[in-house]
């Protein structure tokens, strides 16, 4: 079983340290819920794993299946089987979804010397679009351009279905999706996981998603630090107590609260 292993990871963006010593393991058969308040560093971690150029790793290591990801370019990481469903996918004018996905698939398969026939590809794409109940014309439209919020999220999942990664990081795939779409997307994620086995790191603010995609473990990140880990009952705990109780538990006080207290004392 391959494993994504993150050790003592420190990372910064524009000179500001965001991740402060993250340790995390994810094997290709488990699902982890990765939750935390806004701005705690969830997307940052996702981007760092996927080698985004704006984020700088200051310390620590990330390996997958024993290979040093930090020494690899983003595309090499992708071809190794790591996939990031982005919280805010970029738009690419002029490049059609279909051409782009075909190219990505060809690149992946040349690693294993398989050749993707156009017919096979088109059939697979058509089925994936159907599975996700997406509009057929999304294949020939430009990547994410003028897609609605929900369509963009579905388009991320579409690419995941086509590329069949070993590890997928789903960064708020449920935001912007209507109730039915959350169910459709979750079904597709679960189906792919069942078919191939796939490690999932699922980032979300909503309990509902975890009813559909059931996590084996729950990890809470606060202020760039892993604050708590547990089984899925931790979701219930946070649902009723919020993140504040965990902050208190680990001796973390909001800067805002601190300011208020000072003001009050004076």
């Amino acid at each position: 079983m391959a494993k994504l292993i993150i050790k003592d990871l420190w990372a910064s963006v524009s000179g500001v340290t965001i991740l402060k010593g993250i340790n995390l393991e994810l094997s290709t058969d488990e699902t982890v819920a990765f939750i935390g308040p806004n701005g705690s560093g969830k997307s940052t971690l996702a981007y760092v794993i996927m080698g985004h150029p704006s984020y700088k790793v200051d310390r620590g290591e990330i390996t997958f299946d024993g290979k040093d990801l930090l020494k690899m370019t983003t595309d090499e990481r992708a071809r190794l089987g790591i996939f990031l469903c982005m919280q805010n996918p970029y738009e690419i004018n002029g490049v059609t979804n279909r051409d782009f996905i075909k190219e990505a698939l060809d690149k992946k398969e040349t690693n294993s010397n398989k050749i993707v026939s156009y017919y096979k590809f088109a059939t697979k794409l058509e089925k994936a679009i159907e599975d996700l109940k997406m509009d057929k014309d999304l294949a020939t439209r430009y990547v994410n351009e003028s897609f609605s919020g929900g369509e963009k999220k579905k388009n991320e999942i579409l690419q995941m279905k086509m590329l069949e990664p070993k590890i997928a990081i789903l960064d708020e795939i449920d935001s912007g999706l209507d109730v039915d779409a959350v169910k459709i997307v979750s079904d597709n994620v679960n189906e792919l996981k069942e078919k191939n086995g796939m490690g999932l790191m699922v980032i979300s603010h909503y309990r509902r998603l975890f009813e559909y995609i059931k996590p084996d473990r729950v990890i809470v990140i606060i202020n760039g630090v892993i604050a708590k880990e547990g089984d899925s009952t931790l979701l219930d705990y946070i649902d009723s107590n919020g993140f504040d109780s965990i902050k208190k538990e680990i001796g973390l006080v909001d800067e805002v609260t601190l300011l208020e207290t000072c003001a009050f004392k004076r």
Binding site: T74, E103, A104
Partner: protein, 262 residues
């Protein structure tokens, strides 16, 4: 043999491929009235020339015009009343060029233009003017330019004369610079001397957005693949129009090499 004047009349309603060496001073294409036709033109310009293209009344024409060569040309396109023209054009020279394209619109005619130019280590200049000479005319033009260690200086303008009614002009420029020493100067200009018209323009020139490259790389494409697929988007609109196999075989390699080749 008179080498200075050459006339070609297009009368049929059909798809046709015309491949020509242009070495005459004046070349005239006359497209008949009331026909619908798709014309593939591959011109190899050997002498400085003046090319006139006249689209007859009420005809509905699509032209894919690819030029190569060593000398510059002036292309004058006249759209007679109620005719319409879709023009997909690209000048694929390997050295400096200064080609001018002028479109003249008469009453009720409409023009849709797409021009792709690529400067790879050389300079491209010239003008692309659209003259709305009469009322009820529309034009929509997209200019997609690529510069790699080269320079493009192109004067793009739509001119709507005084007293003209119910007309519309839209111009859009997209320019990609693939090196620090590349330059594209091609701002669309709308010269409008009438109130009864709609006009708009857009212009986006710059290096490829790193976020776009990152997105493609996160799906397994190398940086070079990502750049190529984004550049490919500049020639795709032309290739999509070419459903004639013979023409495609002639032109596709030239277009691909203009974006850096495969």
């Amino acid at each position: 043999m008179n080498n200075d004047l050459n006339v070609l009349n297009i009368k049929k309603e059909d798809n046709m491929v015309i491949i020509k060496d242009i070495s005459s001073k004046i070349f005239i294409f006359n497209v008949e009235k009331n026909i619908k036709s798709k014309i593939y033109l591959l011109l190899n310009i050997k002498e400085e020339s003046k090319i006139d293209l006249n689209i007859g009344d009420n005809s509905n024409i699509e032209i894919i015009l690819i030029s190569t060569g060593i000398k510059s040309f002036d292309l004058n396109i006249n759209l007679e009343p109620y005719s319409s023209l879709k023009l997909y054009s690209s000048d694929l020279y390997d050295a400096d060029s200064n080609n001018n394209k002028i479109i003249n619109l008469k009453d009720g005619s409409s023009f849709k233009g797409y021009e792709f130019l690529s400067a790879r280590g050389f300079n491209i200049s010239g003008v692309f003017h659209i003259n709305h000479n009469e009322s009820n005319t529309t034009s929509k033009s997209d200019f997609y330019y690529l510069s790699n260690k080269g320079e493009i200086n192109r004067e793009l303008s739509s001119i709507i004369k005084k007293g003209i009614k119910d007309s519309e002009a839209i111009e859009n420029v997209k320019g990609i610079l693939t090196s620090n020493d590349s330059k594209i100067d091609a701002k669309p200009v709308l010269i409008v001397d009438s109130l009864d018209v709609k006009a708009s323009h857009g212009c986006a020139i710059g290096t490829i957005d790193e976020n776009e490259i990152y997105y493609l790389m996160s799906r397994g494409l190398t940086r070079e693949d990502a750049q190529r697929i984004i550049s490919y988007s500049l020639i795709a609109p032309i290739l999509r129009e070419i459903d004639n196999l013979e023409f495609r075989e002639l032109v596709e390699p030239k277009l691909l090499s203009a974006i850096g080749g495969i």
